[in-house]
């Protein structure tokens, strides 16, 4: 296992370099001039020229790239052109928020999605199966913004049960922090639960007719044991793949939900940075999320080995 890990981390390095080049090339790929956005409504030509010089936008792109890499290696990702805050500080503020939101959403998704998928596979063709599918697919089709706004109107405005929006750090007040995150993670979680449920169901159906499950049944093992121990274990491959991918998506892609519940996470940070052409922030965030994806995929690959003993023998 260890050499495998080591090799994977070594291979990941060129990926990071590749991504950093790609991310830097964005400056040229994306339309729109960052300074036009930055110079303010007046767009005074003189100020524009000065700023262009100041932020070294006149330098050739490769020179800018190497300067950036040099700083990045020393842990300096530059400052936000919009707020002058250091990018590392911005990310430091937002990473805990995003991870908390992603973990809580994933818990919702897994706790709802996997049992529902198993149940619906075991009871295939019954009313339970149909209802579980309908609920899951509505969870997928209901737009996050709709569910989010409806929850705010109902839970916060009408019943006054939970705060409508905002964020309280875990370190400040655990209970309040979980309370503010409850609705947004539920909204995100239900959408993902649908995907997980459908995959668990399909995967379980494939596995339940496989020889080893039939053998287990023939041995007279209790149905519960057969399903949970033999079938589920083998059905988990696509679920593991998806969980890793969806977790990554949660980190960078929860924009709309973050916006509705006013949660200062990564998604909102990157969208605003892209729209404002705040490239230092875009570059920093993309680099960090890329590293996150690599770690998650590595984790998924390791899980394949854990779940499938035969892979380990090879």
């Amino acid at each position: 296992m260890l050499p495998f890990l080591f090799r994977r981390i070594l291979i990941a390095l060129p990926t990071i370099v590749l991504i950093s080049i790609f991310v830097f090339a964005l400056q040229k790929l994306l339309p729109g001039d960052p300074l036009l956005v930055l110079a303010g409504e007046e767009r005074d030509p003189e100020t524009l020229a000065l700023l262009r010089e100041k932020y070294r936008f006149n330098d050739p792109i490769w020179m800018q790239y190497f300067a950036w890499v040099g700083n990045a290696l020393q842990g300096d990702l530059g400052v936000s052109l919009r707020t002058n805050q250091p990018v590392t500080e911005l990310m430091g503020q937002k990473l805990p928020v995003t991870i908390q939101l992603a973990v809580m959403s994933m818990i919702f998704a897994l706790v709802i999605g996997i049992p529902a998928g198993i149940l619906s596979a075991v009871k295939k063709g019954t009313a339970t199966d149909y209802i579980a599918n309908l609920v899951a697919l509505s969870g997928l089709s209901i737009p996050n913004f709709w569910l989010g706004i409806m929850l705010i109107l109902l839970v916060s405005v009408k019943w006054q049960l939970l705060p409508a929006s905002g964020y309280v750090p875990l370190s400040e007040d655990i209970w309040q922090s979980v309370r503010t995150m409850l609705m947004p993670s539920f909204v995100l979680g239900t959408a993902l639960a649908a995907t997980l449920m459908r995959h668990t169901r399909s995967s379980m159906l494939s596995v339940m007719n496989a020889d080893y499950v039939r053998t287990a049944r023939a041995k007279g093992l209790a149905e519960r044991v057969v399903i949970l121990k033999h079938a589920l274990r083998n059905a988990l491959t696509p679920i593991v793949t998806l969980t890793a991918l969806l977790f990554g998506e949660l980190v960078a892609g929860a924009v709309l939900t973050e916006q509705i519940f006013t949660i200062p996470g990564f998604g909102k940070l990157i969208v605003d940075a892209v729209f404002n052409r705040d490239y230092a922030v875009v570059q920093g965030v993309v680099l960090v999320t890329a590293a996150g994806f690599i770690v998650m995929n590595l984790f998924a690959d390791m899980m394949y080995f854990v779940l499938n003993p035969r892979l380990r023998e090879q």
Partner: protein, 506 residues
């Protein structure tokens, strides 16, 4: 014994104070439509940033809701007869949040910073000031290159905001991370896209008028969600309620709604002569632009998209403005006239027009209504929605035929016109050029009296509406909604939230 007596009296006084003005710790929570940019008055550029400054940084002068210039840190001022200098008397006993004293030296340092810092966005606003002279501890003389009627209005905004010279020198370009001004509240904390927290400044010169212990600004971009937060009590006030949410907000007894016509406008800018794309029928023939203008029923547009809550408009000022040219009133649509003009221009069978639109709900709705109106006159509009940075870059580079864009507005009429209309103006993306227009715009800048300036703008407006490089559609209404516990709020046309005299009673 005596000590005890004083203690009792103080306690009693304290108690009465409690009932008279609410002295309990009240944090006022205000929801903004977006997050502010850097909190340095010299570097910042966003509208919401200015809302934060209204509580954080005092200016040399302020405005009344009727746009009169009134004292703030400067108590009085005199312009020399030839208009080439302004001498200001400054308020005594004012402190910056870091304890630095406010005086004429501080003003001089501030003006120098605005004019010379590389990152300053205020340079063009203070261009007319050639030098400053400290003529007394609390007296400063601003020497001007020539008469400048717009200067005081500039000093009523970011260019006139005073930051602590001590802090500014120490922090340099990073001043915005921890801004130090002399306003009613001092900076406490900022989490990007989450909140900006300000705390009451105990030594504020006008502290008696401030009745909140702290203010928290929260960016909440979604309008429906902003209103829901107000209704749930999570916030106390919000800015820019959507016009279409008015009915709902008015129906809630615990919510007060206040509004003011903004200083800016929304309209369509045509490419007259900006690059190759300027050479098209729409850029070359003003009759086509006039035809489009006649085809649009601005009042109906306002009714359909904004439930009549905004102000339909045909000039760069709203009709409520003292600068509005009343001899060119807003008229309804005249489709026959529009068709006649098209025929005259040689497009009797209709003509296409591509318009770029910012990709948000309101501009898209506006332009789809305009599209439908134009179609009745035989003008076939194609819309291309773009995110704002792309739209701006394309407009500036001349890669457009027509562009739906607005302007947030300035106190002085010059700000709504000059750099859009004169040849080589920084905002003249149409590359419109008319010597007569340049002459009028420059004359209005230096004319000594309001009446004389108005005459120049009136004349310019006639040409503007005939040439139509910018076609005006409507003026936004700033709409605030707040809890009925809040009393004493005044709506200003600049869209700011001034907390002097505002109180809170549970």
């Amino acid at each position: 014994m005596l000590n005890l007596k004083t203690a009792v009296i103080t306690a009693l006084l304290g108690a009465t104070a409690l009932t008279a003005s609410p002295a309990f710790a009240k944090d006022l929570r205000i929801a903004l439509q977006s997050d502010a940019d850097v909190l340095d008055p010299d570097q910042s550029r966003t509208f919401v940033g200015r809302i934060v400054y209204a509580s954080l940084c005092d200016k040399l002068v302020d405005i009344t809701p009727d746009l009169e210039i009134i004292p703030q840190l400067a108590t009085s001022w005199v312009t020399s007869d030839d208009g080439t200098s302004v001498t200001m008397q400054l308020r005594e006993g004012v402190l910056f949040h870091d304890g630095t004293a406010f005086n004429a030296e501080a003003v001089a340092a501030n003006i120098e910073r605005s004019q010379t810092m590389d990152e300053s966005r205020r340079k063009s606003e203070l261009k007319s000031i050639t030098s400053t002279e400290v003529t007394g501890e609390y007296e400063i003389k601003l020497n001007l290159a020539g008469p400048d009627a717009t200067l005081l209005a500039q000093l009523a905004d970011r260019a006139g905001m005073m930051v602590s010279p001590t802090a500014a020198n120490a922090a340099g370009v990073d001043f915005g991370l921890n801004p130090v001004c002399s306003g009613a509240f001092s900076f406490t904390e900022r989490v990007a896209q989450d909140k900006i927290v300000l705390t009451k400044f105990a030594d504020y010169w006008n502290a008696d008028e401030i009745h909140f212990d702290s203010v928290t600004f929260l960016p909440i971009p979604d309008t429906t969600v902003r209103l829901a937060n107000l209704q749930s009590g999570d916030i106390d006030m919000l800015e820019r309620l959507a016009a279409t949410d008015l009915t709902q907000a008015n129906g809630d007894d615990s919510i007060v709604v206040e509004s003011a016509v903004s200083l800016g406008y929304q309209g369509i800018t045509f490419n007259i002569n900006n690059g190759e794309k300027g050479d098209n029928p729409w850029g070359n023939d003003k009759r086509l632009r006039q035809a489009l203008s006649y085809a649009i029923d601005r009042e109906a547009l306002n009714q359909v998209v904004f439930e009549g809550a905004f102000a339909p408009g045909n000039q760069s000022f709203p009709s409520s403005s003292p600068w509005y040219n009343a001899s060119l009133p807003l008229e309804g649509a005249d489709v026959a006239k529009a068709k006649a003009l098209l025929t005259e221009a040689g497009f009797a069978d209709g003509i296409d027009l591509e318009v770029q639109v910012p990709n948000s709900t309101e501009p898209l709705a506006v332009m789809q209504v305009v599209q439908a109106m134009a179609a009745q006159a035989g003008i076939n509009i194609q819309l291309t929605s773009k995110e704002f940075a792309t739209l701006l870059a394309d407009q500036s580079a001349g890669d457009f035929t027509a562009s739906q864009i607005g302007w947030s507005g300035r106190v002085d009429p010059d700000g709504n016109n000059h750099s859009f209309m004169v040849e080589g103006g920084g905002l003249n993306d149409a590359k419109y050029s008319n010597p007569k227009m340049d002459e009028l715009m420059n004359a209005a800048r230096v004319a000594p009296t309001t009446a004389e300036r108005k005459a120049f703008y009136d004349e310019a407006m006639v040409i503007m509406l005939d040439d139509l490089p910018r076609l005006f559609l409507y003026h936004v209404n700033w709409i605030w909604a707040y809890s009925d516990n809040m009393k004493g709020f005044t709506a200003y046309p600049d869209g700011m939230i001034r907390l002097e005299g505002v109180t809170w009673t549970e």
